[in-house]
């Protein structure tokens, strides 16, 4: 169980992944992914449920053995030196990995002691973390009485007992209300500013957009795109026009007219008479709407919006995938 010397050169990435793969029975959860995450960056892995995000993260956090490929984390080889990887990382999973019967303070002291801090140092670190995460008032309450946002903050605090080289966050804001989500976002930004490399997974384009310097989009265990948020949006178009028709009987006619005017394929919404189509500019969208009105098609509603995850997928995969359906499974 030697940790070995860290062989990280100054310009080596914090995480380097080559062809990493993992199957469960006949299902290929991760089917050969390459990634390079530079140090100090917030990197987001975006994809629907079941895309392989969590499997990828669990492999990188040494919780799951890969079937194929290789990876280094902070210069340590994932397969040959998992113990050394563990010394350089922390992971906050989708579900709070805390002892609900214990208080927030006791959880942090327990984990500090497991890292090897003495009693006094463990108590001090726990107190510092509770103060920094705005949990000092709740420190002596059992975790089962915490709100979702408080649990998430305590869980992230537990990942910072020893400042990690890389912090893995699996869907850090899933299930949080908007204000708790904002708090966690602010937290993630400050952590990255302090030099921690952060690899997070998310289903929300907005979250990736808000936080990450780079985004990898994955689906069915494969990376289908990677770039900055701006690059991905350029691939998807500057905006999407969403139109709700007054009469569903006119859907096909309206779809044909939108496709002809905007030169892009039209998606049918999951329910109701909703059509979504990539529009190059507000002017183009306005012209398309005029076409519909000119043809006597009644509109119940319309809006211009940034692309949703579904739409990014639609654009990236050419419509062969329907992430919304998969998410519902």
């Amino acid at each position: 169980m030697t940790d070995g010397p860290s062989i990280l050169a100054p310009d080596d990435p914090a995480i380097r992944v080559r062809g990493l793969a993992r199957s469960f029975g006949a299902t290929q959860a991760v089917a050969g992914i390459d990634l390079d995450v530079p140090r100090g960056m917030i990197f987001a892995i975006l994809g629907p449920n079941g895309a392989g995000k969590t499997t990828l993260l669990r492999m990188l956090a040494t919780l799951l053995e890969p079937d194929g490929g290789e990876a280094t984390v902070m210069g340590h080889d994932l397969r040959r030196a998992p113990h050394a990887v563990r010394g350089a990382i922390a992971m906050t999973g989708q579900f709070a990995s805390l002892d609900e019967d214990l208080t927030g303070r006791e959880n942090l002291i327990m984990l500090s002691r497991l890292w090897g801090f003495g009693r006094r140092a463990a108590r001090e670190r726990a107190a510092d973390l509770l103060a920094a995460f705005d949990l000092a008032d709740a420190a002596n309450r059992q975790v089962q009485d915490y709100s979702g946002g408080m649990r998430r903050r305590l869980d992230i605090a537990a990942s910072l007992i020893v400042t990690p080289g890389v912090l893995f966050l699996d869907e850090p804001t899933t299930g949080l209300d908007p204000s708790a989500r904002q708090k966690v976002w602010r937290l993630i930004r400050r952590l990255a500013a302090s030099g921690v490399t952060i690899l997070l997974t998310t289903q929300y384009l907005e979250e990736a957009d808000q936080l990450a310097a780079r985004i990898a989009v994955i689906d069915h265990g494969r990376k289908i795109a990677e770039g900055t948020s701006r690059e991905l949006k350029a691939a998807t178009g500057s905006g999407f026009l969403h139109v709700t028709l007054a009469d569903a009987a006119e859907l096909e006619q309206a779809a044909g007219m939108l496709a002809a005017r905007l030169g892009a394929s039209v998606q049918h919404g999951a329910q109701g008479a909703v059509l979504s189509v990539m529009a190059g500019s507000p002017e183009a969208a306005s012209a398309a709407l005029s076409d519909l009105i000119g043809a006597g098609i009644g509109l119940a509603d319309f809006s211009m919006g940034t692309p949703t995850l579904d739409e990014v997928f639609f654009a990236l995969t050419g419509g062969s995938d329907a992430p919304a359906e998969e998410a519902a499974q």
């Binding site: 919780l63 990995s97 302090s194």
Partner: protein
């Protein structure tokens, strides 16, 4: 307001010993007692009910008088208490896995057996506390250990050995089975026949031959015989040796299996 800007960077301290890690897990078990004292009810209610019902309902018929029956029954009910306790330890492990707590432990650079060693520390405490409560109730009802305090102390040491050995069965179950309630159902389904088809409740002399043959080699009977001997001052070394066969064999077989299952999970 959250202010993590003030948080100092913290480097990793020197790695702790496996023993120190195990003690931290033991400390966790002690904290749980403080926060969830109700768990003691789970552990002692069944043996208390058994003691009262068997002593006062069946005792007269089985042994001539409730007092005589209690004298026979109490060392055995201690064995039953400890064996049933072990089921709860497996349930706790299964709960920890379900809640993701073990993911946290497994991403720490700690000795991989430490969580199990810690569970054992907690178990030993639970066995001691539950055993004391049952013994105290027995004494109140009129039970008298002929071998005195030393005999009782010896019996408790054996009891901890039994709990330690049997505990492995349920740690393995806790690792194999997905939900805590399934661990409980499986545990009790397996344990009830083993407990009842033993010499805890009745002398096997009146049982049919095929059943008596089983009861006489049932490890629970061997444990109970040694416990009775220790508390009555009549124990032989051979009895203690036979009582320890199962705990030792279970530890030798299942401790490595526990580790393999845990690493693979």
């Amino acid at each position: 307001m959250t202010d993590i800007a003030s948080l100092k960077r913290m480097e990793r301290p020197a790695p702790p010993s496996g023993m120190s890690n195990a003690l931290v897990f033991g400390w966790r078990a002690v904290l749980k007692f403080r926060h969830v004292p109700e768990q003691m009810f789970d552990l002692v209610m069944t043996p208390i009910m058994f003691t009262l019902l068997f002593t006062f309902v069946f005792g007269g018929a089985l042994a001539g008088s409730p007092d005589d029956y209690l004298q026979f029954f109490l060392p055995g009910i201690l064995v039953q208490t400890v064996v049933f306790n072990a089921v709860y330890s497996g349930m706790g492990l299964s709960t920890d896995f379900q809640k993701g707590l073990f993911d946290r432990f497994r991403t720490l650079p700690v000795w991989s057996l430490a969580p199990f060693a810690g569970l054992m520390v907690g178990d030993i405490l639970r066995h001691l506390i539950a055993g004391m409560i049952i013994l105290a109730i027995g004494l109140m009802l009129g039970y008298r250990p002929e071998a005195g305090i030393l005999g009782v102390a010896g019996a408790f040491v054996l009891l901890l050995g039994i709990g330690f050995g049997v505990g492995w069965i349920f740690l393995v179950l806790g690792l194999l089975v997905r939900t805590p309630t399934t661990v409980m159902t499986l545990g009790f389904t397996f344990l009830f026949p083993v407990i009842f088809a033993s010499n805890i409740m009745v002398d096997p002399a009146t049982m049919p031959d095929w059943l008596r043959a089983f009861v006489e080699v049932n490890p629970v009977s061997l444990m109970t015989t040694a416990m009775r001997g220790l508390m009555a001052g009549t124990v032989t070394a051979a009895e203690i040796g036979r009582a320890l066969i199962a705990p030792v064999a279970l530890t030798v077989l299942l401790a490595p299996l526990t580790l393999i299952l845990y690493r693979r999970k």
